[in-house]
Symmetry: C2
Subunit: 371 residues, 2 copies
């Protein structure tokens, strides 16, 4: 696995059970996954020679993030390495314009969109689709970075002037955000997890509710069908997370794609029969996929975002004592304000009760507040 | 954690989630846990100097096995290290005569027993309690080793002549075997997991059914009470597994004690809200204990015992495809006939169906047979 963040760290838990020997490419031995993986190699993933050396002896190569240059991914495959997802699929998670073109071509629901490179382009787009307009960096954005909601051309002036390659999308007046996580293996098997609701704050996911409360079963099936179709049409191998907006009428439009274990799937560690991390390993190794069946009627995951006080130990004790059933996950990362340093998962039957438990634990761990 | 077998390996999965940095003392870097723990130190646990060096900087010291000499455990505590369980408790899992004396003193149900060192002692014991008589090595036995069921003095001649320190116990005509896993923390909090049934073959546990089918709730509560009482009276810190025989009338007698994560608790990884490995870490670190509540109505764990053919990959694929819901755990150990190389866990609602699923997976992985 190229990259040694928390996704690789949690993949190691699954690898231990499966008897899979996981190697990671890290920047330093202090990184989240490097702390818990014996076969950690250090090097820069932007350097093809480093990637080639790293890949030697691996049965499959996969990724903890989407930043490996597409050309390097192609080169590794040309060398004969089994790279999952491959470059032809991965580019859709790296380049939002390529993603929009392809989704439009296969009939997946998208907001109106266009490449824009000038104030004139933007003015024309705003005229046709109305304001606000969402500008997105074609490459490199994540967790709300690289996304600008512009109410007018003035709002966009600075971004347009920066020279960043941009995409304009019509603002979607969504009711809530959903996500569908699917897995697809090289031999073509696919599975979909239940549709979840994701709750964002300042562009960062703070909470995931599985399954999405009150979602009509037909709409849920339709959302899963869209995600599986995207995985199939794009030739995704491994996991694909499809972030969606749900409109007031119930229909969905696709917002973003990720091709790796995803924050919207952390609930599966305890909440599904097969965790997304195990599923990703099974998929990239072309093993039969595991059951995505939920393990409880309601599962809520809440992210722990670093607060101002890095000394979390007494809060850790409080949360354990307060709720012996809540599951705590720390990523071995230094506490910095706003940084995802861990998550908690609560399981039960009543949505509001389970949400309150997860929120209490995550907020208290982060800040010491009682909510 | 002193020792780097599969118990330490599975403890690492829990440590990763809790953000606990786990260090192990291993014999080689090839051992089960050493393969997945970056902070692996090599050394001989029988050497006190090695243990002292190993313990430097650890918040707590605990064990993957019970073979560390009691005196060394005492010495580490005298140095000021937090050792859990402590020597005064651990000795009861190391010395079966000390265990029987203590359990008898606190009123825990035991078979008739006596220390024996000669044919005369044994003859007297057999006369009083009848044959067969079970001879046990006072120290060092496990997985059926160090236990001899003798139908007559002749059967016992060789063992008696060997000079092994021995205990005689009346043969218990049990109906089945049960186990109760409890945890106790230094500040005195205790929890008990549901009582399970363990199924042995040739003295080796092959299957664990949680909860024990058809067990009367009062008898279950009584068995849990016995285990918690033993943990409390002996001052156990960490996990205590109490293996019991259930007699035809329903009452139980204590067979063996273990003070560490135990094979009878592997089902808790997916089958309980808190796995035994997480629970052990919480207990030895004096953190609040986690909920032992079951995560499914029926959970069955079956051990994978190495067969004659070490090439298990195609069988691994079969089992994954055959039953996408079964959970596979491999220990990263070389396959040798009869060796515990992993386990599988199945969850569901119908005992016989779940047992059949677990058995199919474990037997097929081991031998390629379809059962």
């Amino acid at each position: 696995m190229v990259g040694a963040g928390q996704l690789a760290r949690m993949t190691q838990q699954a690898a231990i059970a499966l008897g899979v020997e996981l190697r990671v490419l890290a920047n330093t031995h202090d990184e989240s996954a490097a702390r818990v993986i014996t076969d950690t190699r250090l090097g820069d993933y932007r350097d093809l020679a480093v990637l080639r050396e790293f890949a030697q002896g691996c049965d499959a190569i996969t990724f903890d993030h989407e930043h490996v240059p597409t050309g390097h991914v192609e080169a590794l495959a040309a060398d004969g390495f089994a790279v999952h997802p491959g470059a032809a699929a991965l580019v859709h998670a790296q380049d939002k314009a390529v993603m929009r073109e392809r989704l439009t071509a296969i009939g997946a629901p998208c907001p109106a969109w266009a490449r824009v490179s000038s104030a004139d382009d933007l003015e024309a787009f705003g005229k046709e689709h109305g304001w606000p307009v969402v500008l997105k960096a074609v490459r490199g954005g994540y967790d709300g970075r690289g996304v600008w909601v512009c109410r007018s051309e003035d709002d966009a002036a600075e971004v347009l002037a920066s020279g960043t390659e941009l995409l304009a999308e019509a603002f979607v007046p969504f009711e809530r955000e959903l996500a569908v996580l699917v897995a697809r293996s090289p031999h073509g098997q696919g599975v979909s997890y239940p549709v979840v609701e994701t709750v964002q704050q300042d562009g960062i996911c703070v909470e995931v509710i599985a399954p999405a409360p009150g979602l009509d079963p037909e709409q849920a099936a339709s959302a899963q069908h869209i995600a599986l179709k995207i995985a199939n049409e794009l030739g995704v191998t491994g996991l694909l997370a499809v972030e969606m907006f749900q409109l007031p009428g119930g229909q969905v439009v696709v917002n973003e794609l990720a091709m790796r274990p995803h924050n919207s799937g952390h609930w599966t560690i305890e909440g599904a029969r097969t965790s997304q991390f195990e599923q990703h390993l099974r998929a990239v190794l072309d093993l039969p996929l595991g059951s995505p069946a939920p393990a409880a009627p309601v599962v809520v995951m809440a992210n722990i975002l670093g607060g101002d006080d890095p000394d979390i130990f007494s809060r850790y004790e409080h949360v354990m004592a307060h709720d012996p059933g809540v599951k705590i996950h720390f990523y071995g990362k230094e506490v910095r304000p706003g940084r995802k340093i861990g998550h908690v998962t609560a399981l039960g039957t009543d949505v509001e009760e389970v949400r309150a438990r997860a929120r209490h634990a995550a907020v208290h761990l982060a800040t010491g507040e009682y909510v």
